[in-house]
Symmetry: C2
Subunit: 217 residues, 2 copies
């Protein structure tokens, strides 16, 4: 139990420091100090700083992809629209719960770094596969308009990442606190309006009020 705590503290401290000071600007000693442990524990669990980064990013994406995969599995029993809303609520909630790591990852994948690039391509290809399957089913079943899928994925990802990539802009300019629960919920609902009115064919809109899906999955 104590060992798990130490490992988790190291991960939390690294996520916080990488986000605020950058990967290059953070030393192993600072991570150890913040985690109230010593450098040898970091070496024991993660070998070095690069190992810790790789572990953090991989773990982040594993859970992230699991949310989208779950929505994809639900295609068997739910409508494409419901599955898409599961994606939106699941990802918004996950990003809010992991805000330091989310911002760090979203920023890192804007860089042309090799490590991130390889990890990113693997997970983002999986993500694309699941999202595409949801959109294709929706189009096939005439639930969705015949939208161009890659452009729609871009719009979706753009809207989902905005609050966690630019929390400072949101707080200082728009006066919205991205880490508050009601903000994540209201923003999800606004994205869902896009699903209901732009993605879905008009006659699907009447079902809007009947849908009951829990916020977390």
């Amino acid at each position: 139990m104590k060992n798990n705590n130490t490992k988790q503290n190291i991960k939390n401290s690294a996520a916080f420091l990488f986000n605020t000071k950058g990967f290059a600007g953070t030393s192993v000693r600072e991570i150890a100090n913040r985690a109230k442990t010593n450098v040898s524990n970091i070496s024991y669990y993660f070998e070095n700083k690069a190992g810790l980064l790789e572990h953090l990013v991989s773990t982040y994406f594993e859970s992230y992809i699991a949310i989208i995969e779950q929505a994809y599995i639900e295609l068997d029993s739910r409508s494409a629209r419901e599955c898409l809303i599961l994606v939106i609520r699941g990802i918004m909630n996950y990003q809010k719960e992991n805000r330091h790591l989310t911002r760090f990852v979203l920023r890192e994948i804007t860089l042309d770094s090799t490590l991130i690039r390889e990890i990113m391509t693997t997970y983002m290809t999986k993500e694309k596969y699941y999202l595409q399957a949801i959109f294709e089913k929706g189009i096939h079943q005439q639930e969705f308009n015949s939208i161009p899928i890659p452009y729609t994925i871009m719009q979706l990802k753009g809207m989902l990442s905005m609050p966690y990539l630019y929390p400072q802009y949101m707080a200082e300019v728009l006066h919205i606190m991205p880490y508050e629960m009601y903000v994540a919920e209201q923003y999800s609902r606004e994205i869902e309006k896009w699903v209901n009115h732009t993605i879905c064919v008009p006659n699907e809109r009447v079902k809007e009020k009947l849908l009951r899906i829990p916020v977390t999955i």
Copy 2:
């Protein structure tokens, strides 16, 4: 003329290098080499690397805000929907034309750096003012649904910045080339569907096909 060319070459070279290698990872000498000039010319025009950064970011935002301000001025003679579409097409086009600087700026404002933060807050506050005026007029004239404006600005900015923040993701995962003209045009049209179907009240949709606005303004 020659002096203007030198200054412009320095700016283009700096934008390219800051984007690909980061601000900290770029030396004044590298900028001079790429611009085929010498370091003293950079000192003459911009004092130092920080001066060059500030100049680039300020110039970028001046032109960026001018596009949105122009759309705001057009509120006198056009509908709110037309003005919003002018914003979308104008910004998409501007970002495509200034892709290195756009990506650099979009990434820099994710950081908590003081310089960028101050510049960012000033321009982003102006941007918010103009966008808010467009949305308010649309709501007031019952052209737009009564949307929550800050959340709508977030969605709009998220969609607009996506292709220029993640060109590598777009190319490698979605197989879309963000710098090609038809990509920028088609992506604009997809965002405009969101305007027409989610932002506008239903009876405004019939006007969709009648609208003729040039892509650039």
